[in-house]
């Protein structure tokens, strides 16, 4: 019994929980989303994740080495950053994207601010925003196995209904970690093991849903709100990004306020701004509020709180004033609201201009397809017929075709000379084709003009060249047929653009639909 005994202040035991374990729990919570992502998007997704994690860890190692700091990679935070970054990248990005992102996250966002615990923003999300700004096209092309398509959010913006179930399982176009259900399960796990508190996700989600319900323009429709909630990384941000303890407030009340800021900003940006990335920007902007919140939202000890019983007299009189929301919070809130109003007014003003430009563009195309007309006016019969379609596919013979609008062309003396039909086909090779077709009263096609054409350059895009669209000028037929071989001179045949029969077919169908509609409804 002669060994030297240690002497130190109490406590002499510590919980087994270490920073490494805290980080490990986050990784564990992300496993479901990672697995679903790799299953859905394939090997390349796995490579992105690997590149991101390895780059993050190496960046930290190299930085610590150069800065002669203690090596901190063992705390596991770089792994978490790398994984989080990878999960919010599109699955098709080249591998230099996760590399650049991870280096930016670790070196610029974290290490230069003083390392773990000192970073102002969430490194992974700040890096994502950096990549979005620097590599906009790459970062927003959600191609899967070479086939691109719209993300659910883009679909919703275009007015198309989305499958919430598919979004839950992650079988949609989006980032690698887009399985909402997997993320939610991970988030719940993290909550149960104490890795996060529920305040931030709950406040974020509730305030976001409330905001979208009130300002989203679709009311409190369950499918719409679920769709909005499941899309664009809201769940990922609410459980994994906004909850990053380093860049979020430490007190319960502060976390609720912060969560509401995240949710409202995300909603604001989604309604008024570029929808896909609203949440990312909302979180990193909210991160900046954290020091302010922690400065002013400080809970009092239990004995000092209003309502606390601190003596044994029956009629408790508390000498503490009830806590009020500090002035800076009101000021900040006011600034946020004013900024929001300014943003929306700018949008409203520009919206008008954009609409006017659209009208002018339409007029131009009307003129092009109906040179005889001086003015174009609304025709009650035609408009009623269009409204009767209720936005549904027109007819059965024209594919996925929509009649958008019909106007009557009038000559200088006010007599109707024909109709201009705006018609869209969704059967284009790369999305929707919209064209205006000018049809005289006698059924002669005066010509067509494209108002929306996003086909492949050198292929489908050649529809806008006279060689193809000139074929429609001055022709009279109740229905045109596409000749894929070419060289036809038949009255009712249109020669296809070589190598772009899908585009050509869509255009012919659209024109046929317009002819059919006018023939059916003209008086």
């Amino acid at each position: 019994m002669s060994n030297v005994l240690n002497v130190s202040p109490s406590p002499h035991v510590r919980s087994k929980l270490s920073t490494g374990q805290v980080m490990y729990d986050v990784v564990l919570a992300l496993i479901p989303a990672t697995v679903v992502g790799i299953y859905h998007f394939g090997l390349h997704a796995a490579l992105i994740i690997l590149t991101s994690i390895v780059s993050a860890v190496l960046s930290e190692f190299v930085f610590d080495y150069i800065a002669k700091k203690e090596n901190t990679i063992k705390d596991g935070s770089a792994v978490v950053t790398g994984l989080l970054l990878a999960l919010c990248l599109p699955a098709g990005v080249p591998l230099y994207i996760p590399f650049i992102g991870a280096v930016f996250a670790i070196i610029i966002v974290k290490s230069l601010f003083g390392g773990l615990g000192k970073n102002v923003m969430n490194p992974a999300l700040a890096a994502r925003c950096f990549l979005l700004i620097s590599f906009g096209t790459t970062m927003t092309s959600y191609a899967v196995n070479g086939i691109s398509g719209a993300t659910p959010l883009a679909d919703m913006a275009g007015g198309t209904a989305v499958s919430v179930v598919k979004m839950a399982f992650g079988f949609t176009n989006g980032v690698i970690g887009c399985s909402t259900l997997a993320l939610f399960i991970g988030g719940m796990y993290l909550w149960v093991v104490g890795g996060i508190t529920i305040e931030i996700p709950a406040a974020t989600i509730l305030s976001f849903v409330a905001f979208m319900g009130i300002f989203g323009g679709k009311g409190f429709s369950l499918n719409y709100l679920m769709g909005q909630l499941f899309a664009g990384g809201v769940i990922m941000a609410a459980f994994f990004m906004a909850t990053d303890p380093v860049s979020s407030p430490v007190t319960s009340k502060g976390q609720v306020i912060y969560g509401v800021i995240v949710g409202v900003l995300a909603g604001l940006f989604r309604v008024l701004g570029s929808s896909a990335d609203s949440v990312s920007y909302a979180v990193i902007m909210s991160n900046l509020f954290t020091p302010m919140i922690d400065e002013f939202i400080i809970p009092k000890p239990y004995a000092f709180r209003s309502g606390a019983q601190t003596d044994n007299t029956i009629n408790v009189k508390n000498d503490e004033k009830s806590s009020i929301i500090p002035v800076p919070v009101i000021v900040l809130g006011a600034i946020a609201i004013i900024a929001g109003l300014l943003l929306s007014s700018v949008y409203e003003t520009t919206k008008e201009t954009i609409e006017q430009q659209n009208i002018a563009k339409n007029m131009e195309s009307y003129k092009a397809v109906m040179p005889d007309a001086e003015t174009f006016e609304n025709d009650e019969t035609m408009t009623a017929a269009v409204d009767a379609l209720n936005g549904e596919v027109y007819g059965t013979d024209f594919g996925n075709v929509l009649i958008n609008s019909v106007v009557a062309g009038k000559d200088s003396s006010g007599n109707t000379v024909g109709y201009v039909v705006s018609v869209s086909s969704k059967d284009g090779f790369d999305g929707q084709i919209t064209l205006s077709a000018g049809i005289s009263l006698d059924g002669t096609l005066n010509g067509i003009a494209f108002t929306e054409l996003n086909e492949t350059a050198g292929m489908g895009m050649r529809a806008d060249e006279d060689e193809f669209k000139g074929q429609f000028v001055g022709r009279t037929a109740s229905k045109f047929t596409l000749n894929k071989a070419g060289g036809s001179t038949a009255d009712d045949e249109i020669n296809s653009i070589s190598g772009a029969s899908i585009t050509s077919g869509a255009v012919v169908n659209a024109v046929n639909a317009a002819l059919d509609f006018v023939a059916a409804n003209a008086q």
């Binding site: 130190s8 202040p9 109490s10 406590p11 919980s15 270490s18 430490v250 000092f304 709180r305 019983q309």
Partner: protein, 443 residues
């Protein structure tokens, strides 16, 4: 069934299984006994014996100096060998009376004489408690006679016997309640006789079913008593936690338990009150747990105060593996001893020998604070250790004291225990508190 509790708190590994069923056995000292004159909060006692004097069991060998002080009672018979400075468990050298034990245990006159407490006045009871040298036996060591004489005597509503024993490893109160339940309740009745308007409340954590049963039996049939089965959670035994559980009142650092209408004493203290008032036996012995993962046979002993702690370690079979740390008390709030050649004092409830030193491991594993907030959630006082720490890192004592109420910290160590980054939070707070208090004293 989960019992009543306070907010915050932690669940450290209990390790009670090591000693919880080790029967409370009497250990008689082998070597000399050492009685430091300062075993309580307040002024040290003044020695009234000198080298060569013969002393008896129950003899006052140092008398109380002032109101907040307590006398020292000799626990053996024999001869005063020296009055000199000796090392104590707290690491300080304190004036001590060293007594050579003659092994006869001859007692002073009247020792053990039965007395009917109902015939005593309030002042006579307080006098007996004071002369018996009784101080808080849970560790704080506040003179009990002072506690029993609050300024607001008529406002006292709860006489609380603290049997929580929330520190890991320690089981001596558990064993004492199992074996001395009647005596403890008798001690509470003595105190209740002074406060007829008050109720007696026994608080025990729900991990001690045998003690709960024993105490329930002892209070059965007396409607002045109730027993609260509290959730097993550290620091349930803290004075403010237990007051919260019993009365719902949150007290501040500037308040006394009496301000909340409570008198809180450890179950061991009530046992000592019973002995002093009803049996004329002053505080000469106490229950002690010797446990820890380095101890061969974890044990509970009834020990004469003044016994050298090393003897107790040997009585428990010595070390089965080399300890890095030996604590006076438990691992959460105990004091690390540099040597075990120190006497057992009135407030020492345990000796805990640990193979691994969590504090050393903490230094090895320390990382930057990740602001996870676990410390804030663990604080039983509702403080924000994370922000308190940040204020101290920038030496902002003003913010620590006034913005974050740092002086309300009870130094329970919960924040430090849960911190995954292994930051030395409580140590920082302790330092800051003494710094602030000493600055205040200078003014």
């Amino acid at each position: 069934m989960s019992g009543k509790t306070f907010r915050g708190g932690i669940h450290p590994d209990e390790h009670k299984e090591l000693a919880r069923n080790a029967a409370l056995t009497v250990y008689e000292p082998q070597g000399d006994l050492v009685f430091p004159v300062s075993q309580h909060i307040g002024k040290p006692a003044k020695p009234i014996v000198k080298k060569g004097d013969a002393v008896l069991v129950g003899q006052t060998i140092a008398e109380a100096d002032g109101f907040v002080s307590a006398p020292i009672i000799c626990s053996v018979s024999g001869k005063v060998k020296a009055v000199e400075k000796r090392l104590t468990a707290g690491g300080k050298s304190v004036e001590s009376i060293v007594v050579e034990n003659d092994g006869k245990y001859e007692t002073v006159e009247g020792f053990g004489k039965e007395t009917d407490y109902t015939k005593l006045t309030k002042d006579e009871i307080i006098e007996k408690v004071r002369n018996a040298g009784i101080v808080g036996m849970g560790g704080a060591g506040f003179p009990t006679s002072v506690k029993l004489n609050p300024k607001n005597h008529d406002e006292i509503r709860h006489i609380i016997a603290n049997g929580s024993e929330c520190e890991p490893y320690i089981c001596c109160d558990d064993q004492l309640m199992r074996t001395h339940a009647e005596d403890i309740v008798a001690g509470m009745k003595v105190v209740l006789s002074m406060f007829p308007q008050a109720e007696g409340v026994v608080v025990i954590e729900d991990n001690k079913p045998e003690a709960i049963d024993a105490m329930r039996k002892a209070i059965a049939g007396d409607d002045r008593f109730r027993l609260i089965q509290a959730e097993t959670k550290y620091p349930q035994g803290g004075e403010r936690s237990i007051i919260k559980v019993v009365s719902g009142i949150d007290i501040k650092s500037t308040m006394l338990p009496a301000d909340a209408g409570c008198i809180v004493d450890n179950v061991g203290t009530f046992n000592a009150i019973y002995n002093a008032v009803c049996k004329n036996i002053p505080l000469v012995q106490r229950a002690v747990t010797v446990s820890g993962d380095a101890i061969a046979n974890p044990s509970n002993f009834m020990v004469r105060i003044g016994t050298i702690q090393q003897e107790l370690l040997e009585a428990a079979g010595g070390y089965k593996s080399e300890p890095q740390k030996v604590l006076s008390g438990g691992p959460m709030m105990g004091i690390a001893m540099s040597s075990v050649e120190v006497p057992l004092q009135k407030g020492n409830n345990a000796i805990t020998a640990l193979v691994e030193d969590g504090a050393v491991l903490a230094i090895e594993q320390m990382t930057a604070c990740i602001r996870c907030g676990r410390c804030n959630r663990s604080c039983p006082m509702g403080l924000v250790p994370q922000l308190m720490q940040e204020s101290l890192n920038r030496k902002d004592y003003d913010a620590f004291e006034n913005k974050y109420y740092g002086l309300e910290c009870i130094q329970c160590g919960s924040c430090t225990y849960v911190c995954p980054a292994k930051r030395p939070l409580m140590q920082l707070f302790k330092q800051a508190k003494s710094e602030i208090l000493s600055r205040r004293a200078k003014k």
